[in-house]
Symmetry: C2
Subunit: 98 residues, 2 copies
């Protein structure tokens, strides 16, 4: 689905780590970089996009912002017991292009 799109998955590391990852992709010739995050990391994903655009690469534009929901079983190992208790987590995907 995202063959030629470089992706940065946002976790719990400092924002600047992910900013650097994006900049590295763009400096390596990428035309688009996709920033993906789930749950609490979503606000950090937006921080990353904003810092990349405003502080480092002013020619980068936001191509698309998509939101969605991931469903998963909290404990896949002990199914049957909590089989029906699915957890929903929101997701975001911010596609930057230059």
């Amino acid at each position: 689905m995202t063959e030629n799109i470089s992706a940065v998955l946002i976790g719990k590391k400092p924002t600047m780590n992910y900013v650097l990852a994006c900049i590295t992709f763009f400096h390596g010739g990428a035309k688009e970089v996709s920033i993906k995050a789930r749950g609490r990391s979503i606000s950090r994903a937006i921080d990353v996009a904003e810092v990349v655009r405003h502080r480092f690469l002013p020619d980068v534009r936001i191509k698309r912002i998509g939101i969605g929901t991931d469903q998963f079983q909290p404990h896949d190992q002990d199914e049957g017991f909590q089989g029906s208790a699915t957890t929903n987590v929101s997701t975001i995907e911010i596609t930057l292009m230059r």
Copy 2:
């Protein structure tokens, strides 16, 4: 700017409070409802949009998602001392329409 658009500002209350606010606006005849959040509340804003769409109002669509940065002085009262230390906080605005 947002004359006829009902706005829900996301804070630290439970997600369902804001979901109810959105549903109330739509049931009151609103064609568009704007969900706004800053910083850590951003992930809750996306939760609200997703719950409204998937659980309560399937005819509601995402019209636009915008992200931005708000700058402010952390301590406006004692300026001069920390005058130059501006803080950046990311913002999101999700416009739902039906």
